[in-house]
């Protein structure tokens, strides 16, 4: 078969909704796009543990602490599912870590914002995980098999993340005036960055068309963002709180909520490393990796030694 035949066979599979698997032929750019997207996604899960890890020791009750621990452990797991999905495309785990630690690879900008009060744990679960789920549910049908399978597993687990967040806010919203103010303050700080999680608007997202053609993406950034706004506005009413957007208004004709302009300058600033916590997050990651080196080395040495010993025992027996 020539490259053209391979390309045609690939296109046909995509059109027929047949998943692409690791050893199938795929265009170089499809592979590159997936490596970038899946590794970014994995990095986001791993860095995403940091803002919440900040609150594990300060959770207000044993129940909340157990829940938060389980959530953060899930995020580690999600990162691992995604790293191994990316590895099937031929990139090594260490290469991906290097890209993260050197700042070459990106992760979701949302994790570059600080978590200043306990209400932030609620807002992150409700809004940040809510936005992530909106995106991830769509990715369960992405064309690359290992990525889609990882997403299915992740979506099953994420649902509790959003529910526990909403529960935190709901409970606080029934509390004292100070607690209610904390909830509103957290919502005010996390709302806009959550909308930015869907990425640049469609007219500024040059890769969207190709990703849609390859069925890597199933919906555009703006479509998913709109869907998120529509469901979240209704949920917010249950909390009796407001979303910090005076332009938020039901549009009868469109059947959707209209919302105000996103501050893209802020978005690009944070993406490019100038958010409130970019430096702190990367330093924490790099430090964890460096501090774990002796453990990795020791495990390696132990395994080498055991191999040697079992080798010499075998030769004695012979």
């Amino acid at each position: 078969m020539t490259v053209r035949d391979f390309q045609e066979a690939f296109d046909e599979k995509i059109d027929k909704e047949i998943a692409i698997e690791p050893r199938d032929w795929m265009p170089d750019n499809y592979r590159k796009t997936l490596i970038r997207q899946i590794s970014q996604h994995a990095h986001s899960e791993i860095v995403g543990m940091l803002p919440e890890g900040n609150w594990i020791t300060r959770a207000p009750s044993l129940r909340r602490k157990a829940v938060l621990l389980a959530k953060v452990q899930d995020e580690a797991g999600h990162g691992l599912y995604l790293y191994s999905a990316a590895e099937t495309l031929g990139i090594s785990r260490d290469e991906m870590y290097d890209q993260l630690h050197s700042g070459k690879a990106k992760y979701s900008s949302i994790f570059n914002y600080p978590t200043t009060t306990w209400a932030d744990m609620g807002a992150i679960g409700w809004l940040v995980d809510g936005a992530a789920i909106m995106n991830q549910v769509a990715l369960c049908r992405t064309s690359y098999g290992p990525y889609a399978r990882a997403m299915v597993r992740i979506c099953k687990e994420e649902s509790f993340h959003q529910r526990q967040g909403f529960e935190i806010l709901l409970q606080m919203s029934k509390g004292t005036e100070i607690q209610r103010r904390m909830v509103q303050d957290a919502i005010d700080r996390w709302w806009w960055p959550s909308l930015m999680m869907f990425g640049p608007s469609d007219d500024n997202s040059p890769n969207t068309a190709q990703s849609m053609r390859w069925r890597v993406k199933r919906f555009t950034n703006d479509e998913l963002r709109q869907r998120f706004v529509d469901v979240t506005v209704e949920q917010c009413k249950i909390l009796g709180m407001t979303l910090p957007d005076p332009e938020l208004k039901w549009n009868e004709e469109k059947g959707h909520y209209d919302f105000g302009a996103i501050n893209w300058e802020e978005f690009w600033n944070v993406v490019n490393g100038n958010g409130p916590c970019n430096k702190e997050r990367l330093e924490a990651r790099a430090k964890a990796w460096e501090n774990g080196k002796w453990v990795r080395d020791a495990a390696f040495a132990y395994s080498e030694k055991r191999k040697e010993r079992s080798g010499s025992k075998d030769s004695k027996a012979a």
Partner: protein, 100 residues
């Protein structure tokens, strides 16, 4: 299967298979890195069975898995393609015939 990378310091890659309950077979769940089989099983427990997804775990180093070539799957599976008489629906039998 994923290609083995030549990075010497990286722990080997393992494929994880999980039996979700007694009576069912082990099913591929994903992969992970570990230095040896014991660590692979412990890591698999943490990564793939946090919600009681399994009662048994198999791990095998990825390099030991041999797979058919996707590019020749047409020829490989060809012998089964034209033998529809292997399926019960191939046989034209009267509707009155029951318990069969």
């Amino acid at each position: 299967m994923p290609e083995q990378n030549s990075n010497k310091n990286e722990w080997p890659l393992w494929e994880v298979f999980i039996r979700s309950k007694a009576g069912l077979d082990h099913k591929h769940a994903g992969s992970l890195h570990a230095i040896d089989a014991n660590m692979a099983i412990e890591n698999a427990r943490d990564v793939y069975t946090r919600r009681m997804e399994g009662v048994s775990i198999w791990v095998v180093e990825s390099k030991y898995i041999h797979a058919s070539d996707p590019d020749s799957s047409g020829a490989l599976f060809d012998p089964a393609n034209d033998k529809i008489y292997r399926h019960p629906t191939f046989y034209d039998l009267p509707d009155e015939l029951t318990h069969m």
